[in-house]
């Protein structure tokens, strides 16, 4: 009789070694970075909703870097994303060498009021709201002429 397959390799698969993804800013940098990053998370076998949340939050952070830290009028620059698995989720650190955040701090990420005249419906301001709403422990610092954004993304590893 064959012995039952051991399930330890499956368990081990779910432990992720820290990794980094590097891209250069530009129009397709965000898609490229997301694809690379999500590919590295594949061993975690995240469900579609969790993977979607991670993709969305990271997309918003990266869009902001590509649009504001490295504006089109200036040169492109490096973006580094570092991911470390912790017991309470994924610690993600994003570094760039572009312009600092206005006032050196994170936007509040509040939604504009809706309702009333349809012509006044906001078309923007959703990005930081989504980041603040879906990520935990979001922090920003300017260190040695670099922007460093840290956040924790909760994932369940059942």
């Amino acid at each position: 009789m064959m012995s039952a397959p051991r399930d330890t390799p499956e368990q081990n698969d779910r432990v992720l070694s820290p990794f980094e993804v590097h891209v250069t800013s530009g129009q397709l940098a965000v898609r490229e970075a997301l694809e690379k990053f999500l590919d590295r998370l594949r061993p975690l076998k995240l469900d579609i909703e969790e993977a979607g949340t991670i993709e969305l939050v990271l997309a918003e952070v990266l869009n902001n870097i590509v649009e504001h830290a490295y504006p089109e009028t200036g040169p492109d620059g490096p973006i580094a994303i570092r991911c470390t698995q912790k017991s309470n989720g994924l610690l993600v650190q994003i570094k760039d060498q572009g312009s600092a955040m206005p006032d050196g701090k994170l936007p509040l990420g509040e939604l504009s009021p809706i309702g009333g005249d349809i012509a006044d419906t906001p078309e923007g301001g959703f990005g930081w709201f989504l980041i603040q709403h879906l990520a935990h422990d979001v922090s920003y610092a300017r260190v040695n002429d670099e922007n460093l954004l840290k956040m924790r993304l909760a994932v369940t590893l059942s």
Partner: protein, 112 residues
């Protein structure tokens, strides 16, 4: 950004063929929507059933498309995948549009 358009008696269906409406294609999407809705029925149903990912820029582009229709015309959304639906719910933009789970449901409800 590829959009497929089908015009019925009372409404026009615009189906997004791409899997993503993100910052890379938001402006293109807005322009394509304008081209597809420039004239024609007052009611537009945007079929999002092929869209697997939308970010804040894509969301903003859909809101802009709705606003550019003016006061007398309407944009309804149909076929939102769970990931896309969640972005609309979180930002409360689901309250600004008529949202239908499926295109078929939208068409029968909206009287086509």
């Amino acid at each position: 950004m590829k959009l497929d358009t089908k015009t019925e008696d009372l409404l026009r269906i615009v189906s997004v063929q791409d899997a993503r409406i993100d910052a890379a294609v938001a402006v293109e999407f807005k322009d394509a929507m304008r081209a597809e809705t420039d004239n024609g029925p007052d009611l537009i149903v945007l079929d999002l059933s092929n869209v697997e990912f939308i970010d804040s820029s894509g969301l903003g582009a859909i809101v802009a498309a709705m606003k550019s229709l003016g006061r007398d015309r309407k944009l309804a959304l149909a076929g939102l995948t769970p990931t896309v639906e969640r972005v609309f719910k979180l930002t409360r933009m689901d309250s600004v549009f008529s949202v239908f789970p499926t295109l078929e449901g939208a068409l029968s409800e909206l009287g086509s």
